[in-house]
């Protein structure tokens, strides 16, 4: 084997520098000025890691909890945590709780628009905050697991494991939602007033992990991530990962595209980055803060982390018709600098813009991860597998009688 040339950057060398407390670490928000001052080539020689982050609702999130065994034992077949149903189709005292699960007896949209004040996301928020929750469980009883009912109280500290398992987080980019109809609509992107009176985006833009690594060169299966303060990892490509999409000249997707499946120990999480969310007329969800380090292995990787809001585009979609009916129509394209200005002009009309992604929280997460790496507390890991770079996204074809 040939010796690695002195100037070549590798994960091992970056980790050595982190452990020695010598690593140069910047957030994706600080990297522009650094490159401007030093020039790209020089900056690439100096910077070891750029931290990226996002904070927003991520519906495809949930957790696996292990309660330990009672005496006598019980094979829980139905469970409710603070009245929110958890999935029990796994081993005796393991359950899965999903972020969008409604509380038992929530009237949902029966009285439209529903309020959806409490659900799976709020249970997860309470767990991470160390609050006391109620477990109610039922079972049919077996010879080896005779107990048929349990009602007790617990906190996260009583559990053997509380592991967040999120099938889809960190969408590379996202739709900007508006409402072209003449009626108010209630969506997962908030309340959209009629006749395009407002629009909502949901991305950290220039700070967002996969917008800083558009071709998944460093963020892959096995990468270390900071999931709400816990040391986590990418365990798979996220569901609906779809990399074969329209991209800008810089290679950055204009729509949804790549996604990540993330996991981490909830006992290590910081409650301010794990927040239950209620969307009137839509349902419940969970907002999470995620920060991901990008190792600067070469100047191209650094250049791609220096992407700015004005270079990142998103599609404005009509959520009253085009989104529900899956028409593929796009009202227009805007960049994130325009979105962040608070007003976007569409067909000559000024439309006020809101966001469901918190740039302020994302910045806080990117800063926290930067400081952990600087202190030598967070090491990077080389992905064991790259995320698919040319993968499509299949629709559901309805066949037979259901058509």
């Amino acid at each position: 084997m040939n010796a690695t040339p002195e100037n070549l950057r590798t994960y091992e060398r970056i980790n050595d520098r982190i452990e020695a407390g010598k690593a140069v670490v910047l957030t994706a928000d600080e990297v522009f000025d650094y490159i401007e001052t030093k020039g790209l080539e020089q900056a690439a020689k100096e910077v070891d890691v750029v931290t990226t982050a996002t904070f927003g609702p991520m519906c495809s999130s949930g957790c696996v909890l292990n309660f330990g065994h009672s005496t006598p034992r019980m094979r829980i077949s139905e469970a409710w945590i603070d009245d929110v149903p958890a999935y029990c189709g796994v081993a005796a005292v393991d359950v899965f709780l999903g972020a969008t699960q409604l509380r038992h007896n929530d009237p949902a949209n029966m009285y439209y628009p529903g309020e959806f004040r409490f659900g799976g996301g709020h249970v997860i928020e309470k767990l991470v905050a160390g609050e006391t929750l109620q477990l109610f469980g039922l079972s049919y009883g077996t010879d080896d697991y005779p107990r048929r009912e349990v009602r007790t109280y617990f906190t996260i500290h009583d559990l053997n494991q509380a592991t967040m398992v999120n099938p889809r987080n960190c969408y590379q980019n996202y739709n900007v939602a508006t409402n072209a109809s003449d009626k108010r609509i209630y969506t997962y992107l908030g309340i959209l007033e009629p006749n395009m009176r407002n629009m909502t985006y949901c991305s950290a833009g220039q700070l967002s992990p996969l917008l800083n690594d558009p071709w998944y060169e460093t963020i892959g299966v096995g990468s270390s991530v900071w999931l709400a303060g816990a040391r986590g990892l990418v365990y798979a490509e996220g569901t609906q990962h779809c990399s074969a999409v329209a991209r800008t000249e810089g290679g950055v997707p204009i729509g949804g595209a790549g996604t990540l499946a993330l996991t981490a120990d909830m006992k290590e999480m910081r409650p301010e980055f794990v927040r239950g969310a209620s969307f009137a007329g839509y349902g419940v969800s969970l907002a999470l803060g995620v920060a991901i380090p990008i190792p600067i292995l070469n100047a191209d990787i650094l250049r791609r982390t220096a992407v700015r809001d004005c270079d990142l585009q998103a599609c404005i979609i009509d959520y009253s018709n085009d989104y529900p009916n899956n028409t593929g129509n796009v009202i227009g394209k805007v960049n994130y600098a325009q979105l962040r200005s608070g007003t976007v002009t569409v067909n000559g009309k000024d439309v006020p813009v809101g966001s469901l992604s918190s740039y302020s929280k994302a910045l806080e997460a990117a800063n926290l991860l930067r400081d952990e790496i600087r202190r030598g507390e967070f090491l990077l890991s080389r992905p064991s597998r790259r995320l698919p770079v040319d993968q499509g996204f299949k629709p559901l074809k309805i066949r037979g009688a259901g058509q």
Binding site: R275, A277, S278, G342, S358, K361
Partner: protein, 136 residues
Amino acid sequence: MITRKLYLYFPKSETEKPIVCQLVRDYNLTVNIFRAKVTPEEEGYLVLDATGEPEDIDAALSFLKTFNVDVDNVNKGLRWHADRCTHCGNCVPHCPTHALDFADRSTREVRFFEGQCVECLACVRNCPFAACTSMI
């Protein structure tokens, strides 16, 4: 002339008295009611701005104290809980008076400018994190 925001809580016994009328007629106040629910034989509330000379407002407050009415001269109807706010900015386009707005576009932290709030409650139904709540 000054403007004071008042929150008046009326117990059952006081809901039949024409108190607001007297504020206007006897104390020369201009009253702007944001929210009200005053029904005979039920408890009720009023959230209003009272504009007038400082001594007239002081006299009006003393007059109100002669009734069994709770008076709070703070923005009591709508509360913004800073610790629950994630600073996403979803409320900003829904707030008609910019009472909720980014304090600084670069850090993008949301702030509540209480004086501008007219208690339309748009933020209450729009905030996913229940950072805005209504006392009444």
